[in-house]
């Protein structure tokens, strides 16, 4: 087995001194799609934000190694330039900054040098076409006045443009109607490569109808309580979280 792209080991995360994630371990290899599912409050979003280095989430112990390097002390921008990406559950707006300006700066940061205008336009044009996004979209201010669906599309647009090696998708499916969901899923599928990996964080399994994960993990109270393949997601859909969680807890030492 080659070195994992991401190795999380016994990770503990606190928000304002309150422990949320409590001993989470996970290995993700290049080429894999992992789904983390769990009820509200299980720590899903905390994990996503902490992996990207959000300053409000404190890693109290454990380690996160990305391509073999410990990243828990890296600022978010360093992680991004190294190829990590977070698609936000609630992307914030940046009024007055056009999408196109923002995207170009992000693309330049990712590449490590100023991207020439022509090359950028070509890349952007290709991604817009693939996602059926009108060119006028990128003239607007970043997420400013966007509908829920538009915000998610903007996240997928960034995913497509920046070509990260590790994409963390934080409830990208929530608040989307079925058409938007299909387009978003298509965007995720289009970026799937042997060389990159995706961590899908979701409450519902409906996204997984469009993006088939290699592994499904169920998160409860800050720990992964059960892992399986795509069939686990279908069981969750059919039975809900309760039976699976109680099975898992019964099997665990008290």
């Amino acid at each position: 087995m080659p070195e994992p792209l991401l190795a999380i080991e016994d990770l503990h995360i606190a928000v304002e001194d309150k422990p949320i994630v409590r001993g989470l371990s996970l290995l993700i290899h290049a080429g894999e799609v992992h789904a983390i599912m769990g009820p509200n409050g299980s720590g899903k979003s905390t994990l996503a934000n902490a992996l990207m280095g959000h300053p409000r989430y404190t890693i109290t112990s454990g380690s996160v190694r990305y391509k073999g390097e410990e990243v828990i002390h890296w600022p978010p921008d360093e992680r991004a330039r190294a190829g990590m990406f977070l698609a936000f559950q609630y992307p914030t707006d940046v009024p007055g900054v056009s999408m196109i300006n923002f995207l170009r700066r992000a693309a330049s940061a990712r590449r490590g040098s100023e991207i020439p205008v022509r090359e950028f336009r070509q890349q952007l044009g290709a991604v817009l076409e693939q996602l059926h996004i009108d060119e006028q979209f990128v003239r607007r201010y970043v997420n400013d006045g966007f509908s829920g669906g538009e915000k998610k599309r903007a996240e997928i647009l960034q995913l497509g443009l920046l070509q990260p090696e590790l994409a963390i998708m934080d409830e990208t499916d929530s608040g989307l109607d079925i058409d938007a969901l299909r387009i978003v899923a298509q965007g995720i599928n289009a970026t799937r490569r042997d060389s990159n990996a995706t961590l899908l964080i979701t409450h519902y399994q409906r996204m997984l109808n469009y993006v088939t994960p290699d592994f499904v993990h169920v998160l409860a109270a800050g720990r992964i309580v059960v892992s399986g393949d795509a069939t686990l997601a279908h069981r969750l859909e059919a039975e809900g979280y309760d039976p699976i969680l109680s099975e898992a807890t019964e099997g665990a030492p008290a």
Binding site: M52, G53, H54, P55, R56, P75, P76, D77, R79, A80, R81, F85, L86, F88, P91, T92, V94, P95, G96, V97, N101, F102, R105, A106, A109, R110, Y141, V142, Q158, L162
Partner: protein, 475 residues
Amino acid sequence: MPAAIKPDVQKPDIKKEAYEYGFHDKAAAAVKLPKGLNPDVVNTISDLKSEPAWMRELRLRALQYFEQRPMPEWGGDVGAIDFNDIHYFVRASDERDEENWDDVPEYIKNTYDKLGIPEAEKKGLLAGVGAQYDSEVVYHNIRKDLEAKGVVFLSTDQALQDHEDLVREHFSTIIPPNDNKFAALNTAVWSGGSFIWVPEGVKVDIPLQAYFRINSEDMGQFERTLIIAEPGAEVHYVEGCTAPIYSSDSLHSAVVEIIAKKGANVRYTTIQNWSNNVYNLVTKRAAAYEGAVMTWIDGNLGSKLTMKYPAVYLMEPGAHGEVLSVAFAGQGQHQDAGAKMVHGAPHTSSIITSKSLAIDGGRTSYRGLVKVYEGAAGCRSNVRCDALMLDDQSRSDTYPYMEIDENRVDIGHEATVSKVGEEKLFYLMSRGLTESEATKMIVNGFVEPIIKELPMEYAVELNRLVELQMDGAIG
């Protein structure tokens, strides 16, 4: 000439200032009156300019008002101004600029370098004139075009010589000499500034810029600008310079009066960036008549303290006033800026948009007044002021005054004070932007509503300047 005052050179002949030598005319005489203010100083200024008697009398009357009025106790702290320690009249020569270059603070020289201003122009900036040495040809063409349309665009001093009646009819009618202490001071010692008269129905389709008005007169610290747009006329005046203007004297007190007659459209854009020792206390006011549109676009960077509240008096139905302002306060600076809209007639409308940025312990205040007189039914006014603070040491306050004496009006007000949000920073950083890049992007976005109203070259420069100032503060 009064005995007490002895200017160290003979009286210059204004008419003699031909363009033969352009700005480089080393023959221009330098004059510097001794520090301090009294009737002799005022008389000497009037003598030096060969002014008509009525202007001299107006100056002397204004001096009395100035002396009688107490210092304002609101707004910023003006207590440290020593009126006896100021030269009230300085006419620069190129030599003075050369000599003074060594005295210019290092930070200003560095900013010039970063802005890529050529050596020759840097020195011109010291005189307070946006130095555009190469623009004489352009200037002459514009001038010919304007003359054909009957537009007058001169320094106010020159206008007083060439168009005395026009000046006399309008001068001090919008801002009377006793309006406030600093307007009184300006009226007593004013020098330089622009005079624009646009005849009825004439639309000036390019912005008139102060630096096209080439003359050897210092823009000075007490400049006086008067713009008159006759019915149906249109004009956009652009003044200022984004590079810091170094002034060894610490008080700048200008007066700008604008008259937009029936159906006229006047836009006045100013960007000022004084060095950090300057008190910038400016009175700007416009009167807008039936269906006229008056817009102030006002950018304030630099200075120790700025107090500036561009006003529009909406005199007749259908008049519309607008103020868009952006202020930036860094270390040791206080920007007390805002706007004043006075609805004196029914069916008038106004919009105030104010954006302020405070960084590195700087302080910004929004101070605005919307006044609606009784009987001015059907007025609409919308005020929006947003303040952004870049750190915990900075400060921002909002003083929105509303005096509404009429019920049938539609008045809206919205104010926000915020910090550069952790969420916004995290979002941009999660896309690979460094903290400093992300902060600049957020700030540029914040001021964008004002920037997009500026002529292109100013917009680019202002963006760059804001970034430069932030570099100083956030490293």
